[in-house]
Amino acid sequence: MTQYTIRRLLVALPSLLGVLIIVFLMVRLAPGDPALLLAGEFADAATVERIRERFGLNDSMPVQFQRFITGVVQGDLGRSTRTNRPVTQELIDFFPNTVELAVAAIIFALVIGIGLGIISALRPNSWVDALSMILALIGVSMPTFWFGLLAIRFFAVETPIFPVAGRGTFAHLVLPAITLGLSSTGIIARMTRSALLEVLGQDYVRTARAKGGAPRTVVFKHALRNALVPVLTVGGLEFGSLLAGAVITETVFTWPGVGRMLVTSVLSRDYPAVQGTVLLIAVTFIVVNLLVDLVYGLIDPRIRYD
């Protein structure tokens, strides 16, 4: 396991470095003077000069990159040109909200997705199976923003059960979480179905049945436990994507998370904030994937030896 962990960590490091390089290059490759981009369009000449000085934009690229890395490690991501607050502070304020939304969404997706998948797998090729798999496919094909708007229209405007936007109570969380979790629900449902069907065809399940195990026990105790291993892996990976997928959902519901911060920053060309949010989302994604892999290696020892 230790060897597997080390190997997996070593694979993640280059990705991390690559993300840093891309985020670093974003400002340098964008058309225009990087100092101007980092200072914001309304900055005066002195501020631009100060930024140029501070980020050493006249130095060579490797020197600049080294300084960028040092800044990132020390938690210094510059100041947002829009709010004039340190980007790190903004991220600390907004990130927990995104995590809250993503956790709610993945819980919804796991519960409904696994449920649909089980229903389908227990009656393969029946109309129940067809219906739930079509629902799953619609979930995957649904544009998040459109579903969000429909949800707002029907459940917040026409029948005001839930608030239209914002964050605060549990009621605020319901519509955004369902919206964000919808496509993961579809993916998890399809995954559960195929994994469970595969397991149900295995010898040990047949043995359990032959021994006279109650159908319910066989399915839930013998089959489902094994089928859920890949499903939970997919769930973990989906959770990572949800953090990024929140970009659209947060915009639809004006949810104060990093996704909305990213969109506002891109639209107002607030480059320090764009860099900070992109870095945070990508690094979180890498870390979540790493954890999923490690947990997978822990519960399924076969995976460590490939």
Partner: protein, 357 residues
Amino acid sequence: MTDTPAAVTEAPKERRRAPRWRRRLARNPLAIIGITIISLFLAVVAFAPFIAPYLPQTQDLRTTYLPPGTGVSLRGPEGQFGIWVSRSQRSPSRGIEVDDSAAYPVKLFQRGPSYKWLFGLVESDLHLFGVDGPVRYYLLGTDEQGRDVFSRLVHGAWISLFIGLISVGIGLGIGVPVGAISAFMGGWVDMTVQRFVDTLLAFPGILLAIVLVATFGTGLTNLMIAVGIAAIPIYARIIRGSVLSIRNREFVEAARALGRRRMGTLVKHVIPNALAPLIVQSSLQMAIAILFAAGLGFLGLGAKPPQPEWGLMLARGREYLAVAPHVATFPGVAIILVVLGFNLLGDALRDALDPRK
């Protein structure tokens, strides 16, 4: 060895039938639905100016936010069946006013605004349907500038198709050669390329496209390139897996033993055998690209007004969801239908091309 003669005599019979994957596809009802949706979509793109009764940019500020069916009745003045349209307009104080004194029939193959088709080669004013009279028929209602939502949807269809095609094209054109060469060469080349692919994959979902748009600027062209680049790592990964599983098979070794060069073997023997997953991915990628592009359009990072891009139309409709929900509803229906079509086809292709079944 007794099998051999039978196999030889049966071979020509096999050849006359359609390939197995095509027969499997034809038997799958979901595949038929997917193919039908995609065919309709392609037809809409190809004949857009003919299908749409009006031009996408024609505004009329007297007819803003008209819901579908405004001023429409299914009986004519003398009780005839058909679709009859009366003049309707929105007055700032009294809401929608319908002038019932006169109704005009909607007819097929009606003359309307003239348009150029096939890159300007054909000029015509014939439309699939239109009103025989001095009023307009808004099948799906109008938007905030009194433009016909249906015509805009039809005229905007090509944008979605193009984004999908460009994304698949970039994925196939860059991702496949990069991934294939990397896997085939192995060693440090493979290591380097894979770390690069890993880095791109570290940007989940739509984030990579947002990063590229943020770097190189918003707009339709950059959006298409961004969504395309986001497809590269996926294709590189898929082809790599296929190549690795095929690389050491006997027929590849045989080709090498016969003196074929490495690149020759790759192009002639390895890649054709890895085609199935690429075909499946291309169908799914069309769906993903269309969703991404609409999402970016919705966020204001893609197409710019007044382009009739579906995501952008939806975003505009969002602002007056309470007054005119139809404006945001129909672009969404269009997106989900097309995406569903490509997903259905992709799924069905995966089943049909799966050699284990």
